[in-house]
């Protein structure tokens, strides 16, 4: 198993995993499976893929520790980059496909919508992390790089807020279409708790 995780095959496996949702989007779109309102269907689908990949990215280091396979950590960067690619696709669908890049309409439609701002801040953080994900930045920022990239947890929590506010429902009364956001909420908070627990156990952060 250790050999598999260290081999190039593991990375090929991860990349294929990241591509599969895109292939299915393409197949469903061109075969008409998206139905009569493909803009809305694509917005929902790309959003779900993005939060799934973000959650997977967060799960990598706990999994590596659980299975004592540090080589798994290699998957984190490609998963993180795939996340931001799907996020950008999500935005492109809304801005371009749904609203035809009509900036004035987009502004009046979304300027005062809290869910959009949670989304926008999430995107800004994720773009910052993607840009600084390369080795050059890692060397340049030294210990600060690790702290900077812990922002992914903030991004995940803001993304959850975006998701909860984007569905028809009410978190406080646990009613409406909130099954999926509740699921992702549990997983992300669990992963965050695992990380905090580890920090309490070993106060000097290991890389």
């Amino acid at each position: 198993m250790t050999r598999f995780f260290r081999s190039a095959w593991f990375m090929v496996f991860v990349l294929i995993g990241c591509l599969i949702p895109f292939i299915f989007l393409g197949i469903d779109y061109f075969s008409g499976q998206m139905g009569p309102n493909p803009a809305q269907a694509l917005e929902i689908r790309t959003g779900r893929i993005a939060i799934s990949l973000l959650t997977a990215t967060l799960a990598i280091s706990p999994l590596a520790r659980l299975f004592k396979q540090p080589a798994i950590l290699q998957a984190r960067r490609p998963l993180g980059l795939a996340t931001i690619i799907y996020v950008l696709l999500h935005i492109l669908v809304l801005v371009g496909f749904d609203y035809g890049f009509d900036l004035p309409i987009l502004i009046v439609s979304f300027l005062d919508k809290p869910f959009i701002w949670f989304g926008v801040i999430t995107v800004l953080i994720l773009v910052g992390l993607a840009v600084t994900s390369f080795d050059w930045w890692k060397r340049k920022l030294g210990g600060g790089w690790k702290r900077l990239h812990n922002l992914i947890y903030l991004a995940a929590i803001l993304d959850l807020a975006h998701y909860f506010l984007a569905v028809k429902g009410n978190l406080l009364t646990l009613s409406g279409n909130i099954g999926r956001p509740v699921f992702f909420g549990f997983v992300i908070l669990f992963l965050l708790a695992v990380r905090l627990l580890k920090r309490i156990q070993s106060p000097t952060p290991r890389s």
Partner: protein, 325 residues
């Protein structure tokens, strides 16, 4: 005009025999009166009531078949039948609008009873086919605007709700109507989710219910409603967001207080009782200023009252439509 309307009430026993009896009796009675042949035919199918508009050789042509209209009065093209029957917001089956068609296929819509109850002088439980046969069928081409920002143009067949309201004689204390949809998790898998306050309920003020535009629909494009579109009988209130137009109605209750409604119970700030289409009042998520007409690539501006201001704005004179959203 003032002829007393009587609806056939269903007794728990002998449903079919009674309706056969009634239809025969109606047939002989009408024939004996020497009414026009068309009326006799209409009465043959009807095991129900005689309506003033169908008697005495009225020139009104029942439009139970699709008239062939291609646009609404604003010139907007009709949404295709396949889009209308494959893209459905129907949480009783699924939150996936493209999946309702498949999941609802086996919904049993006959026999189907609608209970009309509450503050009325003539309450009763009526078979849906008796209702259909009792009131003049009409075609209405209406815009349907979903709160999510998409819309359709649909040729409905059905009858005006006001006809039924008049027939059951509301008491003066009745000021609202509550509509309740089928509650059957064995047939409606979405109702197994405990996140929702099933059954689906909606409500109208009595004057909104009596408005000429308010329709009880039993068909579209000249065919009986499909389960995914709300068979066998649903409400259509074209100047309100789509969720007001409750599907698969089993109970119509006349009440003296504003009824609770499904989406208002879930998120009161987001879904008001009135829910009139209003581009000036945004939903927390969706701008209501534009909409995407299904089948058409670009968005268009949403009209106040969904384009029916002229007909309905007098219902809301003096009301703050932002507070009463």
């Amino acid at each position: 005009m003032s002829k007393q309307i009587k609806l056939p009430k269903i007794r728990s026993s002998e449903i079919t025999p009674e309706s056969i009896y009634l239809s025969r009796r109606r047939f002989f009675k009408t024939a004996a009166l020497g009414a026009a042949g068309a009326v006799v035919l209409a009465a043959c199918r009807s095991n129900a009531i005689t309506l003033p508009t169908l008697e005495g050789g009225s020139t009104a042509t029942p439009a139970s078949e699709y008239s062939g209209n291609l646009t609404d009065e604003l010139g907007r093209s009709l949404t295709t039948e396949s889009d209308i029957t494959s893209f459905n917001n129907y949480y009783e089956f699924s939150t996936n609008k493209n999946g309702v068609d498949e999941l609802s296929r086996n919904l049993v819509t006959r026999p189907w009873q609608v209970e009309v109850t509450g503050l009325v002088h003539q309450p009763g439980t009526f078979d849906v086919d008796d209702l259909i046969a009792s009131f003049p069928p009409e075609e209405r081409v209406y815009r349907m605007r979903c709160v999510e920002g998409w819309s359709m143009v649909i040729p409905w067949q059905g009858f005006q709700l006001s006809k039924l309201v008049d027939a059951v004689e509301p008491m003066t204390s009745a000021s609202f109507i509550r509509f309740v949809a089928l509650d059957d998790p064995t047939q409606m898998p979405g109702q197994k989710s405990s996140y929702y306050p099933w059954p689906y309920e909606e409500g109208l003020r009595l004057d909104e219910a009596r408005h000429d535009l308010t329709l009880l629909s039993t068909g579209l494009y000249g065919k009986s409603l499909t389960p995914q579109n709300g068979a066998p009988i649903r409400l259509v209130v074209p100047w309100k967001y789509g969720y007001k137009s409750i599907k698969a109605i089993v109970r119509i209750e006349f009440v003296d207080k504003q009824p609770t409604t499904f989406w208002n119970t879930i998120a009161p700030d987001e879904y008001g009782f009135y829910s009139n289409v209003n581009p000036a009042v945004d939903h927390p998520r969706w701008s209501q200023q534009t909409e995407r007409i299904i089948g058409i690539p670009s968005r268009i501006a949403t009209l106040p009252f969904n384009g029916y201001s002229e007909q309905v704005q007098n219902l809301y004179t003096g009301m703050d439509l932002e507070v009463n959203h």
